[in-house]
């Protein structure tokens, strides 16, 4: 058994919240830089240049990349040989969010009740997804999710007869409906298969995969490439103001499903596709 103190979890979550909101991962950085040279619309190019300036200022002046510093979505993979000491893991994670959002000058965007809507004033609670894995490591991914793009996300319960064309149409429909609202260029996370909630979770997790990395399943990889091309032909462009850079990547995850179903979830993310990872 390996012992991990929950104070280590709090510390890691605190730092990851701040890190994720001030710098993108190298794959996102590279893709946004490349887009400046490939974008055909002059206004689109100007917007992509502004995004470069924005990232620079965020890094230098420690101003969050986007004022919507998100609801903290946390994936925590826990090796089954790990033993926690020092109190509740959930409390430790939320304490990390509280400290990160307060000490890091991040916006508090969470309301206590979806209908009564009183701000919790410390951005807690986080949305936490626990996963048990083999071994003795704990891997924490903090993925703050802005709601401009979250609001444009969809779940489609398709029929098996809809097939691959039905899936592609569903994804394109979600992207076209999102348009300028989702702050393109977007990253499109997709979950296909499983159940209603499983496909949504897969779509969310797909957003944390490096956008330069394609699916290991050959037909899924082909679909990712084809859909990215189709999305970039919609004309939506940077900021939705026209252009050839509407998405930077389509990341698809799949899972076995029921004989009667074909669930598809599309979790849209803006160009501020944030996540920071740490292994303990």
């Amino acid at each position: 058994m390996k012992t991990i103190y929950t104070t280590q979890i709090t510390q890691a979550v605190r730092e990851l919240c701040i890190e994720a909101n001030h710098a993108l991962t190298p794959d996102m950085d590279t893709a946004l830089k490349q887009a400046v040279s490939t974008e055909k619309s002059p206004l689109g190019k100007q917007i992509l240049n502004q995004l470069q300036d924005n990232l620079q200022i965020a890094d230098t002046d420690k101003i969050p990349i986007c004022q919507d510093t998100g609801m903290a979505v946390i994936f925590i993979e826990i090796g089954q040989e790990v033993h926690f000491e020092g109190g509740s893991l959930e409390d430790a994670i939320n304490e990390g969010v509280r400290q990160g959002y307060t000490d890091g000058y991040l916006r508090k965007s969470v309301v206590k009740d979806p209908l009564l809507r009183e701000n919790t004033n410390d951005n807690t609670p986080a949305v936490i997804h626990y996963e048990l894995t083999a071994g003795d490591k704990v891997t924490i991914t903090v993925a703050p999710k802005g709601f401009g793009s979250e609001n444009m996300s969809r779940v489609f319960m398709l029929k098996p007869a809809d097939g691959i064309e039905g899936v592609k149409n569903a994804i394109l429909t979600a992207v076209k409906d999102a348009g300028p609202n989702a702050c393109p260029p977007m990253v499109v996370g997709v979950g296909i298969g499983g159940t209603f909630e499983k496909c949504a979770l897969m779509a969310k997790k797909a957003l944390t995969r490096p956008i330069s990395q394609r699916s290991a399943i050959p037909y899924v990889k082909e679909m990712e490439i084809e859909l990215l091309d189709k999305i970039n032909r919609t004309g939506i462009g940077p900021g939705g103001l026209g252009g050839t850079t509407t998405a930077l990547a389509v990341n698809i995850n799949t899972y076995p499903t029921h004989i009667a179903g074909l669930p598809v979830a599309v979790n849209i993310c803006c160009h501020v596709n944030r996540h920071a990872v740490r292994e303990l």
């Binding site: 055909k40 619309s41 206004l43 689109g44 100007q46 917007i47 502004q50 995004l51 300036d53 924005n54 990232l55 200022i57 965020a58 002046d61 420690k62 101003i63 969050p64 990349i65 986007c66 004022q67 919507d68 510093t69 000058y105 991040l106 916006r107 508090k108 965007s109 809507r117 701000n119 004033n121 802005g146 401009g148 609001n151 348009g179 300028p180 609202n181 702050c183 032909r233 919609t234 004309g235 939506i236 462009g237 900021g239 939705g240 103001l241 026209g242 252009g243 050839t244 803006c270 160009h271 501020v272």
Partner: protein, 183 residues
Amino acid sequence: MDQHINAPISNEDATSLRAGDYVYITGTIYTARDAAHLRMDNALDQNEPLPIDLTNNIIYYMGPSPAREGRPIGSAGPTTASRMDKYTPRLLDLGLKGMIGKGKRSDAVKDAIVRNHAVYFAAVGGAGALLSKSIKSSEVIAYDDLGTEAIRRLEVENFPVIVVIDSEGNNLYETAIHAYQQD
């Protein structure tokens, strides 16, 4: 076309701007988003005065992140405008002349823009650090308890926006997409 305008915005400027114009705004603007709009709407229902005079003013749909020491404001980019659509025609009919946000508007908002010779601007979503540099001061003037959703008075200098819906009802989101649509 690049334009420089002052805020509050004159009737002449509001009617002369065209969808697609790149505009730099200098002057005073106000922030309000979901919760502040709901409160203003309720105030109007109760025949109570609004905390701001809407006449020829511009509302920026924005809730900033907290300011670090020595800075007027934190990250300060636009939020999705369509969430304010329900309240917007009423405010336009009361004199509101401009809105800064991002994303699509309803037909009812577009009609109210045309009816009142107003204008809807987009700022670049997700560029809150950059946009904060054009904000020279920020002061909460109403609904302080709403935190980031309070109404703020901002002094801005060359704040960069793009005209999306102009006073004639032209909509850049529709025209620009067609220009780059393939097959």
